[in-house]
């Protein structure tokens, strides 16, 4: 058994809350543990912030982001689609957790969280010219 839910939000920082709530509810309904729900919340927050602040950086007006949750018996799949210029966040080099704080890069930790906390992540640029980021969390 599986089911799918969709939400479209404007590409604004203020809309992240609504999307986060949407994913929390889906994660609860998919039977994920509290820690796993937190990891989904955090990962979505990071991905949406990246899309809004970097992807749509120059042109946010009228732009949207779609969030699709697929609930399966054993996992939750979260798909995030946007129309910003093609960008694969997974190609960003990982920051180094052992580097001294004085020397560390300020950014790059968000995608690192997503890679660490989700069981599977992937990126494709779709034929209809959308960035499609897929994250999966198992029960």
């Amino acid at each position: 058994m599986s089911s799918e839910r969709r939400l479209r939000i404007p590409a604004t920082l203020e809309s992240i809350k609504e999307a986060v709530q949407f994913v929390i509810e889906a994660a609860q309904d998919a039977g994920l543990s509290d820690d796993s729900i937190y990891h989904c919340e955090l990962s979505l927050d990071e991905i949406l912030n990246n899309i809004i602040e970097h992807g749509y950086a120059l042109d946010k007006d009228g732009q949207v982001i779609d969030i699709i949750c697929q609930l399966h018996d054993d996992r939750l799949v979260i798909i995030v689609e946007d129309d910003a210029p093609p960008f694969n966040p997974l190609t960003m080099p990982d920051p180094n957790p052992e580097e001294e704080l004085e020397k560390r890069a300020i950014g790059g930790w968000g995608v690192y969280f997503v890679k660490q906390y989700m069981n599977q992540v992937s990126y494709t640029y779709t034929p209809n010219k959308r960035n499609r980021f897929v994250m999966e969390k198992r029960r």
């Binding site: 992240i16 955090l42 990071e46 704080l101 300020i106 950014g107 930790w109 968000g110």
Partner: protein, 112 residues
């Protein structure tokens, strides 16, 4: 939403955060914390009211740490929620920040 309470006890600045340290919360915390990082400042950061922290929150902590470190000050964190502790461990931040189990211990460490 995040609330930031700042008070002075002896020579220690006590900062209490309550709420979400997401990108919006992180901006507010940055604006409130940066002016506190003066020469030799000793700061107790009570995180017991924070149950959520994204990378934006981590960035602010890093910026604050650097500023305090530059001025030969000290920061001790207390009240870390297990999930936030996990994030800070995974990213290696916990190796650099001083943490205390209780606020009293943190105060002692900063006064000595």
């Amino acid at each position: 939403m995040i609330e930031i309470d700042v008070k002075q006890e002896d020579k220690v600045t006590i900062v209490e955060l309550h709420g979400r340290l997401d990108s919006e919360g992180a901006r507010k915390v940055r604006d409130a914390l940066m002016p506190i990082a003066e020469a030799g400042s000793r700061v107790l950061l009570d995180m017991s009211g924070v149950g959520y922290m994204s990378s934006a929150g981590l960035r602010v902590l890093l910026m604050f740490y650097r500023k305090v470190d530059e001025t030969a000050g000290a920061i001790v964190m207390t009240g870390l929620h297990p999930r936030i502790r996990d994030v800070m461990e995974m990213t290696g931040f916990l190796d650099f920040f001083s943490t205390s189990e209780t606020r009293e211990e943190a105060l002692q460490a900063l006064k000595s």
